[in-house]
């Protein structure tokens, strides 16, 4: 695949043609939800909402890893950062999310050792270079990221590294789809399924969900043509009353997914009930570190307690994550809550719905 083909997936002429087709075929009022933060950003960046006919509403779902991380988990991360013996290693977005009393960024400013890493390999290097400190990696993300974190635990195990730990706050996507499909208030007509989560779990992982709810589903890539094509496929399914589970990102997603990634994930983690911001506790939608690897489990080693505290007053992140509200309906949006001074995680992360709205909405 050369960059040339990538440009073809951004071809304005082909985009216009697909949009015309969508306009021709779309009759019913429908609500489609994307459940991937990168799709949210791509939809905004490419101005896709403004190009669609009025019959189609696009909703942003819980697809941003930072945004769905529960308040109690953020607070636990901050508590870990306060320890003198700990170096926190984390992906960048997380450090600005306000906890109940503080954020990782505030801890860093007050002298705590919080380091942003690009991958878990960087975190392992920090552990090797600092044998007298405990390096704690904050494991957030979906099925795409979880295998990379599992791989770091396996590597630490093989290297006999005694000072590398992981907090596993990962989330699994298919269980969240069920929660969304069951919510009568949101009333979703079709799902734009995530691209790279699907690279790992494959089309097959959605079959139980699809068979139970019989709701139109299409796996999408990230380029404008990918997204428009997916919307067109969903419109066809809905107009023809023929719900299907389709793959619109065949160049990257197979039926089986990536068996190596699945195997690494399954070796290290097992499913567990997990709390999501906005969606509450969803059965078997999280991952915990298996007993064989518990020596690397920061939650056990440092006795991390998750305590539920109130989410920021007035913040509508929870309702925005489920598509129940859009950012301008939040009383804090653009007033108290901006990308410079975010109050909720949806404004913190660049792929949060509020941040995407703030950046792109007024220009459309």
């Amino acid at each position: 695949m050369s960059i040339k083909h990538l440009h073809e997936y951004r071809d304005p002429e082909l985009s216009r043609d697909i949009i015309e087709q969508i306009k021709k075929e779309s009759q019913k009022q429908i609500r489609l939800m994307e459940v991937c933060g990168t799709h949210t950003v791509s939809i905004f960046r490419n101005g896709i909402r403004s190009l669609l006919p009025e019959t189609i509403s696009l909703l942003s779902g819980p697809g941003c890893p930072v945004c769905v991380t529960a308040q109690s988990e953020i607070d636990a991360f901050v508590e870990l950062a306060k320890r003198d013996d700990v170096i926190i290693a984390t992906f960048g977005d997380l450090i600005r999310v306000p906890g109940a009393d503080s954020s990782l960024q505030s801890q860093q400013a007050s002298g705590r050792d919080v380091r942003i890493v690009y991958s878990t390999s960087d975190a392992l290097e920090i552990a090797k270079k600092n044998p007298d400190k405990n390096v704690v990696f904050l494991g957030i993300g979906f099925e795409t990221t979880a295998p990379t974190i599992a791989a770091s635990i396996q590597a630490a195990h093989d290297l006999n590294l005694k000072n590398y730990f992981v907090v596993s706050a990962h989330k699994l996507l298919p269980p969240a789809l069920s929660t969304l499909a069951e919510n009568q208030q949101i009333n979703i007509d079709g799902f734009i399924l995530p691209g790279h989560v699907s690279v790992v779990i494959g089309v097959k992982a959605y079959i139980p969900f699809f068979e139970k709810y019989n709701i139109p589903c299409v796996i999408a890539g990230f380029e404008p043509i990918d997204i428009l094509q997916t919307i067109h496929m969903l419109v066809r399914q809905i107009e023809g009353n023929t719900p299907m589970l389709e793959n619109g990102y065949k160049r990257a997603v197979s039926f089986e997914g990536n068996p190596k990634a699945q195997s690494i994930l399954d070796t290290v983690f097992e499913p567990v009930d997990a709390a999501w911001r906005g969606l509450g506790v969803i059965p078997l939608s999280g991952l915990k570190i298996r007993k064989e690897f518990e020596a690397f489990d920061a939650q056990k080693v440092f006795d991390v307690q998750l305590t539920e505290k109130e989410e920021p007053k007035g913040c509508a992140c929870g309702e925005i994550l489920t598509g129940y509200k859009i950012p301008p309906q939040c009383p804090l949006y653009q007033k108290k809550c901006t990308p410079i001074h975010p109050i909720g995680p949806c404004m913190v992360s660049s792929e949060g719905t509020c941040a995407a709205y703030y950046r792109y909405h007024d220009t459309q």
Binding site: M1, S2, I3, H5, L6, E8, Y9, L14, D17, I18, E20, Q21, K24, C36, G37, T38, V41, S42, F91, D93, Y118, S119, T120, S121, D122, G141, T144, T145, P147, T148, A151, G195, H196, V199, V200, G221, F222, E223, I225, Q229, K250, R251, A252, N258, K260, A261, I264, S350, E351
Partner: protein, 79 residues
């Protein structure tokens, strides 16, 4: 955040690859890739290649899409 741009493998050493995206080079682990080869295009996430891209499928999808669109447009123009 997913990086949607395909990365080209330009060097492989100890199951680590040097990958190139439009001239920008980085390291990525090949732990999750079956039979990686120099010249393969991969999707990279958080320092790990998570899949090889299938060029045949990429071209086929585009071709099918163009054909579908042009058929409808010819139809449209005739009306």
């Amino acid at each position: 955040m997913c990086l949607a741009i395909p990365s080209k493998i330009v060097k492989i050493e100890n199951n680590m690859a040097t990958i190139d995206v439009d001239g920008v080079r980085r390291e990525a682990s090949l732990l999750m890739i079956e039979n990686p080869k120099i010249g393969d295009y991969v999707i990279v996430h958080a320092g790990f290649a998570i899949n090889k891209l299938n060029e045949e499928d990429a071209l086929e999808s585009l071709k099918a899409l163009r054909e579908a669109v042009s058929l409808i447009f010819d139809d449209h123009k005739q009306k």
